[in-house]
């Protein structure tokens, strides 16, 4: 696969996946792209530099698939960068969000998504969190759809196919795939093998598998052989580009 980067062609089969800057890593994201956005919601596990680079790059009409719709202040610590995909919504680059937890928990401090939603400027597909994780997992694993008990008898299952299996009702949910996945990992080697830290693994590991182009923003870059192969969570086959913070 060849992707145009900065006017030149980069051979994506090249096993050295290191990209030297965040702007270069996101340069080819087109208007209308579907982007999986990693992390659970807070600063931990959030691909913040990729998000900032995409804000600068300016791609519009994006569909963002993420656990939240961007929650400023969630899981944030003073002194740490607090950026989430909230900044892309704020900047008018997002037309649709697929999420389980779209709103700020506090109604007095609505996020950019809620303000845009009230004005009918953004679409929402609300998905139970486990269904979201499984739809992404299925997308990466070549499973087109699956039955789940979550959401049966609720608005989430409205107009969806249901089926009784062994005496219990289940709802059919379809796999999610994307053009890009922006993920954040703790350590990577140049082959794209990744490990995560603590609760920052969550959605990142699944999203890495479900996009045509997975870009990993990493805190530490090490030489191949430095990562213990027994503890690699995302094998390099899923990762196209690596950028170091």
């Amino acid at each position: 696969m060849h992707v145009q980067v900065d006017g030149g062609y980069r051979d994506e089969r090249n096993m050295d996946k290191l990209i030297h800057s965040f702007p270069e890593a996101v340069a080819d994201v087109p208007d209308g792209a579907v982007v999986l956005m990693g992390g659970f919601g807070g600063a931990g596990g959030m691909p913040q530099r990729l998000i900032l680079a995409l804000r600068e790059q300016g791609a519009k009409n994006l569909t963002i698939i993420s656990n939240t719709a961007g929650l400023p202040g969630f899981g944030a610590i003073e002194g740490h960068l607090e950026v989430t995909h909230n900044v892309l919504v704020e900047n008018g680059q997002v037309k649709k969000v697929v999420a389980s937890f779209p709103l700020s928990p506090s109604s007095s401090r609505p996020n950019a998504f809620e303000l845009a939603y009230r004005e009918g400027k953004i679409e929402l597909e609300l998905v139970p969190q486990g269904t979201l994780a499984e739809r992404i997992r299925a997308g990466g694993a070549g499973i087109p759809a699956f039955y789940t008990p979550a959401g049966v008898g609720t608005p989430v299952a409205q107009d969806k196919e249901t089926r009784n299996i062994d005496g219990r009702q289940y709802v059919l949910e379809y796999a999610l795939k994307a053009d890009y996945a922006f993920i954040r990992a703790w350590k990577a080697d140049r082959l794209g093998n990744l490990v995560y830290k603590g609760t920052s693994r969550t959605f990142n590991a699944g999203m890495a598998t479900a996009a045509l182009i997975t870009i990993a923003e990493v805190d530490h870059l090490v030489e191949p052989g430095s990562l213990n192969p027994e503890i690699i969570i995302t094998p390099g086959i899923y990762v196209k580009r690596i950028v170091k913070r």
Partner: protein
């Protein structure tokens, strides 16, 4: 109604008495989060969070927070020996796969049949589902911890939920600031009342008819 209501900590304390040794437990946000502070002495309870961690303990001390160690509510956890981290897909495989023994959740409404509504925010028109729909579909026992009435003093234990459901016929036990109520096939059974409360007083702020347990007790706190 002048009898005093129990505070959130006491509700959590009462819920904690429902936990038994060796259980895997998921706690929702709000009052449920407080339950882990009251783990019965000598019990090993393993707490699970959708943020991808098993066996978490207390919250992190101020100044020792780690952005890579949070619970599902975005609060920072202290590192504890024996923790395990996993992906979101695994977190919910544990939930739907029947590996979580008990989940404690908050609620806006619980019906006579054990239907639960706890995600849509009526004032905002939309809501956060988070992990609640998976939890009520997969956990073995669902306990609700909530105030008995809403901010306009309307009953939250209702005949039928008027708010959109999180799950139907899923709740086992309701612990509130005035009572403990069990959901049974024959109806809601009032098991315990808060100190100074009578069953009649509890009934007066509860929409469905309560069956008064033959061994009705005062909530021990």
């Amino acid at each position: 109604m002048t009898s005093p209501r129990l505070n959130r900590e006491v509700i959590a304390m009462r819920v904690a008495r429902e936990l038994s040794d060796g259980k895997y437990v998921n706690l929702g946000t709000g009052i449920p989060t407080l339950v882990s502070q009251f783990t019965p002495e000598g019990y090993n309870i393993v707490y699970h969070s959708e943020s991808g961690v098993l066996n978490y303990g207390p919250l992190a001390k101020e100044g020792e927070e780690d952005i890579d160690l949070i619970n599902a509510g975005g609060q920072f956890l202290a590192p504890v020996p024996g923790m395990a981290f996993f992906t979101s897909a695994d977190a919910f495989a544990m939930v739907r796969g029947g590996h979580i023994d008990i989940t404690v959740l908050g609620a806006f409404q619980v019906s006579e049949h054990g239907d639960l509504a706890n995600w849509i925010l009526p004032t905002r028109g939309i809501g956060n589902i988070g992990g609640a729909m998976d939890l009520v579909a997969g956990a073995r026992r669902i306990i609700i911890a909530m105030e008995h009435t809403d901010s306009r003093n309307q009953p939250k234990v209702v005949l039928e939920c008027t708010l959109p459901l999180t799950g139907s016929r899923c709740v086992s036990l309701i612990v509130t600031d005035v009572a403990v109520i069990e959901v049974t096939p024959s109806g809601l059974v009032l098991k315990e009342v808060a100190p100074a409360w009578t069953p009649e007083e509890v009934q007066s702020i509860t929409e469905p008819w309560l069956i008064i347990s033959r061994d009705l007790k005062e909530m021990e706190i």
